[in-house]
């Protein structure tokens, strides 16, 4: 399994191919569509990350010392963003998730979308994912 940083670099390169912002979005949407389905019964109130307009459900399970994330959103673009995060962080070790600064996100060239999410979504999603990791880590100790 590649490290978070490696996946981040992969993502940067994937998005770099595109000259046009619309193509980047297209790719982001594809990532979202490829997200494994989240079972409806997992979409409970306590797994909800509330942004300004979009809603994200985020759930995690511990598997072989690794954290496996499941996510969904009511909007296509946000689903793409959470898919980015899941791709980088899912099936990684809790410690690595906690320590990760996710610097690659800023280099993906979706600046407008990401900035507007920053205050009301992205940060909350990342925080939630780190909290899951922390929870598993503490439970394991």
């Amino acid at each position: 399994m590649a490290s978070i940083k490696e996946i981040g670099q992969e993502l940067i390169e994937e998005f770099e191919i595109f000259d046009d912002q619309m193509d980047r979005y297209e790719h982001l949407i594809d990532l979202g569509n490829a997200l494994p389905e989240m079972k409806p019964e997992w979409k409970t109130e306590d797994r909800l990350v509330k942004g300004c307009q979009s809603t994200v459900w985020l759930y995690a399970e511990a598997e072989d010392q690794k954290v496996k994330f499941y996510a969904d959103s009511n909007t296509v673009i946000t689903k793409g963003i959470i898919a980015l995060l899941v791709r980088a962080l899912s099936e990684q070790k809790a410690d690595d998730i906690i320590a990760e600064d996710l610097a690659f996100i800023d280099k993906i060239g979706l600046r407008a979308m990401l900035t507007s999410q920053r205050s009301n979504g992205l940060t909350a999603m990342i925080q939630r994912m780190k909290l899951y990791a922390l929870g598993f880590k503490n439970a394991a100790q």
């Binding site: 000259d19 046009d20 912002q21 619309m22 980047r24 979005y25 297209e26 949407i29 300004c52 307009q53 979009s54 009511n74 909007t75 296509v76 673009i77 946000t78 407008a112 979308m113």
Partner: protein, 414 residues
Amino acid sequence: MSTETKVTAALDLAKIRADFPILDQEVNGRPLVYLDNGASSQKPSVVIDALSRYYQNDHSNVHRGAHELSNRATELFESARTTAAKFINASSEREINFIKGTTEGINLLAHSFGRKFLLKGDNLIISELEHHSNIVPWQLICAEREVELRVVKVNEDGEWDLEHFYSLLDSKTKLISTAWVSNSMGTINPVEEIIEAAHKVSAAVHLDAAQAAPHFIIDVQQLDVDFMSFSGHKVFAPTGTGIFYGKEKWLLEMLPYQAGGEMIKEVDFGGTTFNDLPFKFEAGTPNIGGAIGIAEAFKYLMNLDRVALQEHEDAVLELATNLLLEIPGVKLLGPRNNRAGVVSFNIEGIHPSDLGHLLDAQGIAVRTGHHCCQPLMKRFNIPGTCRASFSIYNTKDEVHLFIAALKKAIIMLK
């Protein structure tokens, strides 16, 4: 708006666009199409330059100064007030107060009118389509004064339900505060009728003109409206500016709002007396640069052929509406006609926020969300809309770019 045959006057749109330096840029590799004017308009060079000129040459604190710069600043500031009075045809400068925006104007009114005139058992009327800024201040003052806040329903088309309004209006109604134009739908409210009805029961009317001022030629005397607020940043002026208008007879009676320098005649630890109009409602050093900027924006508008301008804006809006309605699954919020500046819509099965992102990717700036109108969104049971809002500098070409981009976005999202 006019029912006569429209003669399209020769508006030099290219010149107008050139007056706004920000418009000439690319966003995401495409020419910027700025359709978020309902949130804030852009500024012509004359306004930007007036700010620079003021700070480079004439700045000082106003009033009470006995030196040249202070006199110049005072003259500029007070002649800005005169220009503002002219812009809305107020009968006197004393009826004009500089505020930081619509929200402050409504808070001022809620405090200064509310704590003077609202008595237990009275009622105050707003409507379902109001912006949060025209809801929450009234909720707070009504709770404080034990006054009933009555809310006029809007019909399916997002228009005032006038029958409901008349059923709410009674001799205990002290004030009606409503948007002249709805910011989320563009609906033009029947303000003449509302004002007439209100005055019959001796109620005062405040118009939230935030969305009207950028589009209409305003005549407060002809409207016979008691109060009006609007933001400068939506009428081509700098942020942090706005106009609060009140009939002198009300302003004289109302309590002061903020307290401090400028609004005071005499201070003593035994008691304090307040200054005359218009200073009574302007505590502290005013936003002098801002007042100069807003006056410059008014002058800019008044120097244009405003009738032709309005026809142009209406034509652009009409085109956008027509082209939108051709798109499968589109659902307009608000009335088909009788709107100003705004078209608000949803596409079946698509979240408005997704539309916003993909329009931005193509250089088109619109706003999506609840537009600070959560009660209205609840009324229509939607999370929000995608709102395109137009200004004097938008063109029919831009409408076509917007529609083409929208279609592309829809394909990607379906």
